[in-house]
């Protein structure tokens, strides 16, 4: 029954989406209001149907309805409820279903908030989103059909992949990533809609999609950080980033989207970079599809590669169509994309944005080449090869350092050419900060030039961005007599976009400092201990107390109890474990982490004697690691401040006159 409801909802939804696409497109072309409205109604309908299909699947999972193929594949009666629900994205078909549902939701929201706007921008934007929706819904009824029948119905299933049911973050990272990935469809759709409707010249598509872009970017940021955290908490190696193709796949669209968030300001202010901005939006969308291809096709082996099927090649076709359609539309709009105006000077914020874009593009290319090289090497030379981490580090660390530096210069420079006095006033405090950062890090024992440089530039950027808050608040206190707290609050409230950006910068600084510190000042030791024996790591004494085992419904656990002592006094007890799932030959490492703002003590059970007399433990002392996760949250907070409703009293950054808006919709407010 559940199976029938889910399956038919998918088929009818595909039909509704196709109908909506035709109604919206031809309604706009022939100026038939009724067709347009019918198309929008069909858009809501396909969202309702996708919701029905998704909830049918969740219901099937929770009810352990093993007559549904997907449930039989990932469900098991012993799996706890939380992991049963999130196994919706635990394998290929379910994850595509969830993706399709998020896309349907966003499409309906775009229509809901913008439908009364005059002109063809919104119809064509909707049509683009519906087109992408058709692609995913086609996957759902053909190669990734989740509601296949199983007969005879098995009494139980194997449960989700052990790695995906070992930590609660599995319920956080994938949906964030989907919201980020799918969210990038919205600015792409607005760009395509603007070009198709000929409204690309005035840049209104940028204002209408600004919140969407920022929101998607914030979700993508959170997803990447949550993925790092998951890798740290589950894989047992004490690291969080390894330039794994899957990590790269989520990072590349983030880089291009970050570039876009900055370069778009140059367009809004100076009318420059119109074509470049379109390219960034298209590239971001294409990279999200490429990422899905890389992770879902099985061309790369990883925990994300669910199956070795042909489904990946559908994504390649989708990328080809995307690029071709964008190219045709850009060519058709060439005269509207001519930039007028020019940058106001060499030492101006615009120049910094240009360099920022240059570096972010170079960064993206490096990661892209490093990620795809093995595929091409195998296809062309027939050699199995992988690109080592040193390549990525050597190429990207200098870029990161330069970006940190620019992050401090940009906010300090005005849009107009800066004079010497301004430069001195604005750049002196950050320079003092940089020198302080350099001295502190050398004093603390950092010797690698890149580490010292990272600390110095991070301090530079931190002081520069905090300086903007201080200067703005002081001006308000002086001119309006506000208290320091009020001044800071009002400053944020009246120019949320700008100061939200600076908050995000401070989050990036936190992440950069934490990554550099945790890799520079890391102390690590591995030893086999008998019960009662101890080892010393980074000034701490670590003593093995107990080796134990227990049976849980879905797994067996072998664990150790370990005491951590500082100066002979016990400060914590940790229990690093290994979880044995019935479907896997290998145990899933389950490290234990003691987290404090100053840093983590990370402990992994590497091996144990069958009789429990001894265990091999790896202990890593990593300073400041929690600040990577906190920094990620600060970045998202910054994005949230920028997205929050804009107060009109503020002097808008936009210099062009705003076109008359037919809709009072909140998205159109900026």
């Amino acid at each position: 029954m559940t199976r029938a409801i889910g399956a038919s909802a998918l088929y009818v939804s595909l039909a509704a989406t196709v109908a909506a696409l035709f109604l919206v497109t031809f309604g706009a072309r022939r100026r038939k209001e009724a067709w347009l409205n019918a198309g929008y109604a069909a858009t809501y309908l396909q969202f309702g149907l996708m919701t029905a299909a998704t909830f049918a699947m969740i219901f099937g999972l929770v009810a352990h309805d093993f007559s549904i193929e997907y449930v039989a594949q990932v469900g098991s009666r012993a799996t706890p409820l939380y992991y049963t629900v999130i196994s919706l994205w635990g394998a290929l078909e379910g994850s595509i279903l969830f993706w399709g549902w998020v896309l349907a939701l966003l499409t309906a929201l775009v229509v809901f908030w913008n439908r009364s706007r005059a002109g063809n921008l919104i119809p064509y934007t909707t049509a683009t989103m519906l087109g992408v929706g058709i692609f995913f819904q086609f996957l759902l009824v053909a190669p990734a059909f989740p509601f296949g029948a199983v007969f005879p119905v098995p009494p139980d299933g194997p449960g989700p992949n052990p790695l995906l049911q070992n930590h609660w973050l599995m319920g956080i990272h994938p949906p964030l990533l989907y919201l980020g990935y799918v969210g990038m469809t919205v600015p792409f759709a607005f760009a395509m809609g603007a070009m198709a409707s000929g409204e690309v010249g005035d840049g209104s598509w940028i204002r209408l999609s600004r919140r969407w872009t920022l929101g998607a970017w914030a979700f993508l940021t959170a997803a990447i950080i949550a993925g790092m955290w998951w890798s740290y908490e589950v894989l047992g190696w004490g690291g969080y980033w390894a330039w794994d193709p899957v990590e790269n796949a989520s990072f590349m669209p983030w880089l291009t989207a970050t570039a876009f968030l900055h370069s778009v300001m140059v367009q809004e202010r100076r009318g420059l970079l119109k074509l470049w901005n379109l390219n960034l939006v298209v590239a971001t969308f294409a990279l999200t599809i490429l990422g899905t291809f890389l992770t879902r096709s099985g061309v790369l082996s990883s925990v994300h590669a669910f199956t070795e099927g042909l489904i990946g090649y559908y994504f390649l076709v989708a990328i080809a169509i995307t690029l071709l359609a964008s190219f045709v539309l850009v060519a058709g709009n060439s005269e509207r994309l001519v930039s007028f105006g020019k940058l106001e000077g060499v030492a101006s914020r615009g120049t910094v944005f240009l360099f920022n874009n240059l570096l972010l593009t170079a960064f993206t290319f490096t990661v892209l080449v490093g990620t795809l090289f093995p595929l091409f090497a195998e296809a062309i030379r027939g050699e199995k090869v992988s690109v080592g981490e040193p390549f990525f580090n050597r190429m990207t660390i200098p870029i990161c350092a330069a970006l940190l530096f620019l992050m401090g210069v940009g906010p300090a420079l005005p849009w107009k050419e800066a004079d010497r006095a301004t430069l001195r006033r604005k750049l002196l405090p950050p320079l003092v900060g940089a020198v302080a950062g350099l001295l502190v890090s050398v004093f603390a024992g950092a010797r690698s030039p890149y580490a010292v440089m990272a600390f110095a530039f991070a301090a530079f950027a931190a002081v520069a961005n905090i300086g903007e808050f201080v200067e703005g608040a002081r001006a308000r206190m002086r001119m309006r007599g506000e208290s320091a707290v009020d001044a800071l609050g009002n400053l944020l409230a009246t120019n949320r976009r700008r100061y939200g950006g600076y908050v995000a910068h401070l989050g990036v600084v936190a992440v950069a400092v934490a990554i550099t510190a945790s890799s520079t000042f890391r102390a690590e030791h591995e030893a086999t201990l008998k019960k009662g024996e101890s080892m010393t790591v980074g000034g701490l004494q670590v003593r093995l107390e107990e080796v134990w085992g227990r049976e849980e419904p879905q797994r067996s656990v072998i664990g150790t109890t370990v005491a951590i002592l500082r100066d002979g006094r016990e400060i914590a007890r940790l229990d690093p474990r290994m979880n044995f799932y019935p479907t896997s030959q290998q145990p899933v490492p389950t490290p234990a982490v003691r987290s404090r703002p100053s840093g983590d003590i990370y402990m992994n059970l590497q091996a144990f004697a069958q009789d429990g007399t001894n265990a091999t433990l790896r202990v890593i002392v990593e300073p400041l690691v929690p600040w990577i996760w906190a920094g990620g949250m600060i970045i998202c907070l910054g994005a949230l401040i920028s997205i929050a409703p804009f107060r009109r009293q503020a002097p808008a950054v936009v210099t062009e006159p705003e076109p008359a808006l037919a809709s009072p919709a909140p998205v159109a407010a900026t």
């Binding site: 050597r394 227990r550 229990d575 290994m578 019935p582 290998q586 091996a607 144990f608 009789d611």
Partner: protein, 153 residues
């Protein structure tokens, strides 16, 4: 468009090409130096001295009866075989818990003139297919003495 703008555009384009070219050169050079080739023991032996000192991913099975593990000094020695050739591997650190004869492994490391492959990282090659554990392989059976003592964390 004045000739001045034209000249400026040309300068920008040339500068852009130079920067992009330098970057591409750096990148491709960097990638060649950091490639890690997958080799079987036979391929590695065939390469001879040419293979020494380069980071390689050695793939094969753990040769039966070859594992020597000293828990006290965390010293692990075993041989990787592809049926035709065997390579001696030396590794520091504990082997994975379920490490045993005949298991598929990938070892990242360097082969040296001493005919010993120094491992930097040891990975189990998972077979994705679910295989029911043989009698005696289930953790409940293997670690019976541990699991029977129910102890809460």
């Amino acid at each position: 468009m004045s000739s001045d703008t034209g000249r400026r555009t040309a300068v920008f384009v040339i500068a852009g090409v130079i920067v992009a070219g330098a970057f591409a050169y750096l990148m491709l050079g960097g990638i060649e130096d950091n490639l890690e080739y997958f080799k079987t023991p036979a391929e590695l032996t065939q390469l001879g001295p040419e293979a020494y000192g380069k980071t390689v991913r050695l793939g094969g099975q753990v040769a039966p009866g070859s594992v020597k593990w000293d828990a006290a000094s965390l010293d692990l020695r075993f041989r990787v075989t592809d049926g035709a050739q065997e390579i001696e591997v030396h590794s520091k650190g504990a082997p994975p818990q379920m490490f045993r004869d005949g298991m598929g492994v990938v070892v990242i490391g360097r082969y040296g003139a001493g005919k010993v492959f120094e491992s930097k990282e040891l990975m189990i090659r998972h077979s994705e297919e679910y295989r029911a554990p043989k009698p005696g392989e289930r953790p409940q059976e293997m670690y019976r003495s541990l699991i029977k003592g129910e102890k809460a964390s």
